[in-house]
């Protein structure tokens, strides 16, 4: 656990650094999902960064594709590619595009960026695992704002219809979207209850930025043999950087030099 905590810290710092270097990007929703992605990539998932197309590997889909820096930071730290690539984020000719591109980045299972589409593709991936009689699972990370897209509910309906017990959805429930609080912009209401109504087993995590809680929930989700599972994680947008925390304004803005220094220092615990 100590090790994972230290990885989560490095991932946060990498997120801040790469967005600062790019001069644009989405820090808020990248920072809120760190514990979920770290728990999956460094503990839960059966993957091999040296063999990215390994049969029967678990798959992760970042449906909230704008949190690309989170995925890149986790993949880089897990050894999928050289961390030096972080410096090229969003730059012309870069492997690390503004949103994840499966044709360019080792370890990205499907291109995402347009909200709601990743989770739909993930249903297809989980179906393929079942067709192949694979023991593997498909994990999806969606944002709470993203749940406003209609295709998400089409996807949930189909995952439940096919009783995909290998389909595990993590909701990064940070309560904010670009225009403000989700409850003000378009209230999604009781997320857990809605997933339950769509025949998902629901695990609620009070603190989705607590690694131990996220890990426990992920392990429990993997034991479910009845159908798909939703792990609804309450998180803090911009978690770890005081001036970004719970601020919609930091959804899609890069920190300036002094802000970057402060953010990195705070994350370092200084």
């Amino acid at each position: 656990m100590e090790n994972l905590t230290s990885i989560a810290k490095t991932v946060r710092q990498d997120i801040v650094r790469m967005i600062a270097s790019a001069g644009s990007g989405h820090p808020g929703g990248s920072l809120s999902g760190v514990e979920i992605a770290v728990a999956l990539y460094f503990d839960i998932m059966n993957i091999d960064p040296k063999d990215v197309t390994k049969p029967d590997r678990d798959k992760f889909v970042l449906s909230k594709g704008h949190a690309a820096p989170l995925l890149y930071a986790v993949l880089g730290n897990r050894g999928y590619f050289d961390k030096a690539e972080f410096n090229n984020l969003r730059k012309f000719g870069a492997m690390l595009q503004g949103h994840p591109d499966m044709e360019l980045v080792p370890g990205v299972e499907i291109s995402t960026g347009s909200l709601g589409q990743g989770i739909s593709a993930a249903v297809g991936m989980a179906l393929a695992q079942k067709l192949d009689k694979s023991p593997a699972r498909t994990f999806v990370l969606v944002g709470d704002g993203e749940l406003e897209e209609g295709i998400v509910w089409e996807a949930l309906m189909s995952a439940a219809h096919h009783k995909l017990d290998n389909f595990i959805v993590f909701v990064d429930y940070n309560g904010l979207q670009i225009d403000g609080r989700t409850e003000d912009v378009m209230n999604v209401g009781n997320i857990g209850a809605k997933f339950a109504a769509f025949d998902f087993d629901v695990i609620e995590v009070e603190d989705g930025n607590d690694l131990a809680s996220v890990l426990a929930a992920a392990r429990k989700a993997c034991e479910n043999k009845d159908g798909p599972t939703a792990v609804v994680c309450k998180t803090i947008k911009g978690k770890g950087v005081s001036f970004m925390e719970d601020k919609a304004g930091w959804h899609g803005k890069a920190p300036k030099e002094a802000e970057t220094a402060q953010a990195l220092a705070e994350l370092e615990g200084r």
């Binding site: 589409q117 297809g124 179906l127 393929a128 067709l131 209609g150």
Partner: protein, 308 residues
């Protein structure tokens, strides 16, 4: 006379027997699209997405990313326009191996009317990089192109109509998979046609011959990429081209050919297509007449283009 969609269903069953990776998706129209034939043969490889076309395309993308060869089917209206952005961002941009095979294209859908008559589907599919487009002229060509698509990598749109259509080809002819097939040679005017308009172009050519006009008829079954060589050669030979399609004149075969010839070999052109209007209810033949998608329309446009 035979139905493209029945040929499609039969081709799927054959393909499914040869290759375990073939999977089929439908959106509650399997009886109409004939993917029900595949479901009967391979129930575990047929997924009904329900009335949710966007998610059907998303699932198809996920299956393709996992090494499967998905054929996703519904009516052309609901398989192109509604899930358009999913097709763009999740299928074409990552160049995934998804075959979008739609039936009930064009006004010959008939009685269901405008909401069900896709007449801009070629235009919007054509605008997507990586997308290949097949418009078969009859049932035999449907079989051949469906099988060809299954062998190829990358996104493909296959456009079929509802009604049974007249046979242009014999089963198994080598010409069936040609991107542009010269069906009849002629020196005075070129008729480039796709889909059900191919057979009408052939009839028009016969009628024109009696008036001393020798028309060349080319079946352009592959709208994207075009067989530039064959089309330019014909334009050079005749100096006059008419494009014939059961589709809007905006963005389809007519536009594709005009874009090509404007740059490579400009010639006089005319279009037999739907002139920026929506469809409506009626019998297929009544609608073809109303929208001037007939042998007579081709004949008269050919005569006026040649000032005869």
């Amino acid at each position: 006379m035979a139905e493209m969609r029945t040929a499609y269903g039969q081709a799927l069953v054959e393909l499914g027997g040869e290759n375990e990776d073939i999977v089929v998706l439908d959106a509650d129209l399997s009886a109409s699209t004939k993917t029900s034939m595949f479901r009967e043969a391979f129930p575990h490889r047929h997924f009904n997405a329900g009335i949710a076309e966007s998610n059907m395309m998303g699932m198809a993308a996920g299956l393709a990313a996992s090494g499967k060869i998905p054929f996703a089917s519904t009516f052309a209206m609901f398989g192109t326009a509604r899930p358009y952005e999913v097709i763009r961002n999740l299928i074409c941009h990552p160049n995934l191996n998804v075959k979008i095979a739609c039936t009930h294209a064009g006004v010959t859908v008939g009685e269901d009317g405008a909401t069900h008559q896709a007449i801009e589907d070629i235009a919007i599919m054509r605008a997507l990089p990586n997308m290949r487009i097949y418009v078969p002229a009859d049932a035999a060509q449907t079989t051949a192109l469906v099988k060809k698509a299954a062998q190829e990598k990358g996104p493909t749109y296959i456009r079929m109509v509802r009604s049974a259509c007249k046979d242009v080809y014999e089963e198994g002819e080598p010409a069936l998979t040609k991107a542009a097939d010269v069906l009849k040679e002629g020196a005075h005017i070129s008729l480039f046609a796709c889909g059900i308009m191919v057979e009408k172009a052939l009839s028009a050519a016969d009628a024109l011959k009696e008036k001393g006009i020798e028309a060349e008829v080319i079946n352009v079954a592959q709208i994207k990429p075009l067989d530039e060589e064959v089309l330019i050669a014909s334009a050079k030979k005749t100096g006059a081209v008419i494009c014939c399609e059961e589709h809007s004149v905006i963005g389809g075969l007519s536009s594709a050919v005009a874009e090509l010839l404007a740059q490579k070999h400009p010639v006089k052109m005319a279009f037999v297509g739907i002139d920026d209007r929506f469809g409506q209810s009626g019998k297929p033949d009544e609608l073809l007449k109303e929208y001037q998608l007939t042998e007579i329309a081709i004949e008269s446009k050919a005569q006026s283009l040649l000032n005869k």
